[in-house]
């Protein structure tokens, strides 16, 4: 009886694994394919230059000090260091005019650290596809 149990305990795993061979793979061929982030994903920020009043609330609430207020076109705007950002979204939550929002853009790796600093002009561009 025990022997039978052990033998079954060896055959069954082999059987289920064999069956998986004929199933669709669980993985994607990254980078040619990739998983689309969901609609409300907390990815790269978007700044609406018209709505932003330069109050600096976003920079004060940021837990990682990722936001610096900079001069741009004669007004103050936030500049976000995406390398420091943890994408918590507190800045978006705090923004009184809803000028700052988050986009589902998640592919954010750069060859140079300085490219991770998004100034007002870069932040106000929509994601390129």
């Amino acid at each position: 009886m025990n022997l039978l149990k052990s033998v079954m305990g060896l055959i069954k795993p082999a059987k289920v694994i064999f069956r998986i061979l004929f199933k669709k793979p669980m993985t994607l061929k990254f980078p040619s394919e990739s998983l689309e982030p969901v609609k409300d994903y907390r990815g790269r920020h978007f700044l609406n230059l018209e709505k932003c009043v330069g109050c600096g609330m976003c920079s004060r609430v940021c837990p990682n000090n990722a936001i610096e207020m900079v001069k741009f076109n004669g007004k103050t705007y936030p500049q976000i260091h995406l390398g420091k950002c943890c994408f918590c979204g507190l800045c978006v939550e705090r923004c009184p005019t809803k000028a700052l929002t988050m986009t589902p853009e998640a592919m954010l790796s750069f060859y140079d650290k300085s490219l991770a600093i998004y100034g007002p002009s870069k932040l106000s561009q929509t994601a390129e596809k």
Partner: protein
């Protein structure tokens, strides 16, 4: 010895709030006597030892948090020590598991524990500064001086010929042990934790309520929800606010999903440890399904940043309940598949049965909690013993095993996945409508609060002290893996076969990131 000092955050109607009032202040001389009396009176589990620094009063406060598995109640023993020469008797002769907590306090606060079996440093190497969790230690100033002003980093090397275990990731997580062995038998073990020590407790002293809610995610990568829940609850308790009913349901559902997530990841890690890589890949494929749910609900994949003190940041989106049900049904079917693949696999049974046997008494003694304790036959689950959030609304069984070996721990977790699926299904039926977030006052009142919850790995606790500012004065986090890795694992490893080490280690499901914090 019954002065009632600790004011609970709110007068809840559960026995939890009433029982937590039980705080005792003792003098230094009577500490051991009181604690051993309490242990004899049934408080057999030393949940945590915490130290709080009060430089203005020139004192340290040490807190011993006790729990009785039989009576299901808590007790806190407080003791004050002068800050100049802090010294206190070690209680590791009463609870063996106390020594690891004391060792941490000794290192991070500079409190001397008399007659401690091994007071050597745990995390820090060549530390010449004042102990880092003291209030007068300034992290920012230190980092600036040490890493930005001058570059002076020396490498130190030990010179032992021992078998290293870790710290490369899939083998042990970011944790290293040196195994001293005579032939195939392990005779000794040296532990080197700290690879993931981020000083979260200190970092939290610099951040406000809502900023901290984003930080606590990082305590455990594999199930951030439990720690978010613990932090949200302790902050609510200290502020005297209760979260809206719907928020509680959402939090409970997501935390249970987190538990399944963690256990499925563990199936992967356990099979990897046993050299069964196919099961590893399959488990991680299923993990993705739950992560996708978390992504939809919160907007983040691994770090959801979903719960905040006062509720949740996002309500469930349209049609989310059906999505959860679909995934749960899939998992329920998949569990049968996992039975064939992993749980009843003859090789798995051979590798784990009778390996790393932990009896109930020793398990309690070492501070083991969660599935690892239940596998030894102790029926203890904080979700049942002190129901929090929406757990009073659901009906579930505490999964226990009796043998206490690695296979019992494996089966315990399998049972828990099934129970969690049923818990979520019940909650989805009962979830009320309504608001999901309340605002908390900005300032944290000057009092303390503690909240314990059943994380996937065991008892996770938050202890918080307020100071009338918007930042907590002190936060202590108890991660279950701290005891599991440093006490239980090293106890079980001694005398075991070298080849069994991965099976023992992963059957305890340790997570180095909640161990180190």
């Amino acid at each position: 010895m019954n002065s009632e000092e600790l004011k609970p955050g709110f007068q809840g109607s559960t026995p939890r709030a009433l029982l937590e009032n039980a705080t005792i202040s003792v003098k230094k001389e009577e500490l051991r006597k009181v604690l051993s009396q309490l242990k004899d009176a049934g408080f057999d589990h030393l949940s945590d030892v915490t130290c709080v620094d009060y430089p203005d009063e020139r004192e340290f406060e040490i807190l011993y948090h006790l729990w009785s598995h039989a009576k299901k109640c808590r007790k806190v023993v407080k003791i004050r020590l002068p800050r100049e020469s802090p010294s206190i008797e070690s209680v590791s002769n009463i609870w063996e598991g106390a020594q690891i907590h004391e060792r941490e306090i000794c290192e991070l606060f500079g409190v001397n524990f008399e007659e401690h079996p091994d007071p050597s440093p745990l995390f820090l190497e060549d530390w010449k500064e004042i102990p880092p969790l003291r209030k007068d230690f300034d992290t920012r100033e230190y980092v600036k001086r040490e890493y930005y002003d001058e570059s002076s980093s020396e490498q130190k090397e030990g010179g032992c010929f021992l078998l290293p275990f870790g710290p490369q990731h899939p083998a042990s997580g970011h944790f290293r042990a040196l195994i001293d062995c005579a032939g195939e038998e392990v005779t000794g073990l040296m532990l080197y934790p700290g690879y993931l020590h981020r000083g979260i407790e200190k970092l939290m002293e610099y951040r406000t309520h809502e900023q901290n809610a984003m930080l606590v995610d990082r305590i455990c990568v594999l199930e951030p929800y439990s720690y978010e829940l613990g932090y949200a609850n302790v902050a609510e308790k200290i502020a005297g606010v209760e979260a809206p009913e719907r928020a509680k349901f959402i939090r409970t559902i997501m935390t249970e999903l987190g538990r399944i997530l963690s256990h499925i990841t563990w199936i992967g890690m356990m099979s990897f440890a046993l050299g069964f890589e196919s099961a590893n890949r399959i488990a991680w494929g299923d993990r993705e399904k739950i992560i996708r749910l978390i992504e939809i609900a919160s907007g983040g994949r691994i770090y959801p940043c979903h719960f905040v003190p006062g509720g949740v940041r996002r309500d469930f989106p349209e049609g989310f309940e059906e999505k959860i049900s679909r995934v749960l049904n899939h998992l329920q079917k998949k569990l049968v598949f996992y039975d064939d693949l992993f749980f009843k696999n003859a090789t798995v049974i051979k590798r784990t049965e009778g390996v790393g046997v932990l009896d109930a008494k020793k398990a309690v003694e070492l501070g083991t909690t969660g599935p690892n304790l239940r596998a030894s036959g102790v029926k203890s689950d904080i979700r049942k013993d002190e129901p929090y959030e929406a757990y009073p609304e659901v009906d579930f069984e505490i999964v226990t095993q009796t043998k206490g070996d690695s296979y019992a721990r494996v089966l315990c977790r399998r049972g828990e996945i099934a129970e969690s699926i049923s818990i979520i299904k019940q909650l989805l039926e009962k979830i009320p409508k309504g608001e999901t977030r309340k605002q908390l006052p900005r300032k944290i009142p000057k009092r303390d609060a503690r909240f314990c919850l059943e994380a996937a790995r065991g008892e996770a606790c938050f202890y918080m002290v307020g100071n009338e500012t918007d930042k907590p004065y002190r936060v202590k986090v108890r991660g279950p893996s701290f005891s599991h890795t440093l006490m239980t694992f090293s106890y079980l490893a001694k005398g075991a076969q070298v080849a069994d080490i991965p099976a023992i280690y992963w059957s305890l499901d340790p997570c180095p990131s909640d161990m180190d914090r």
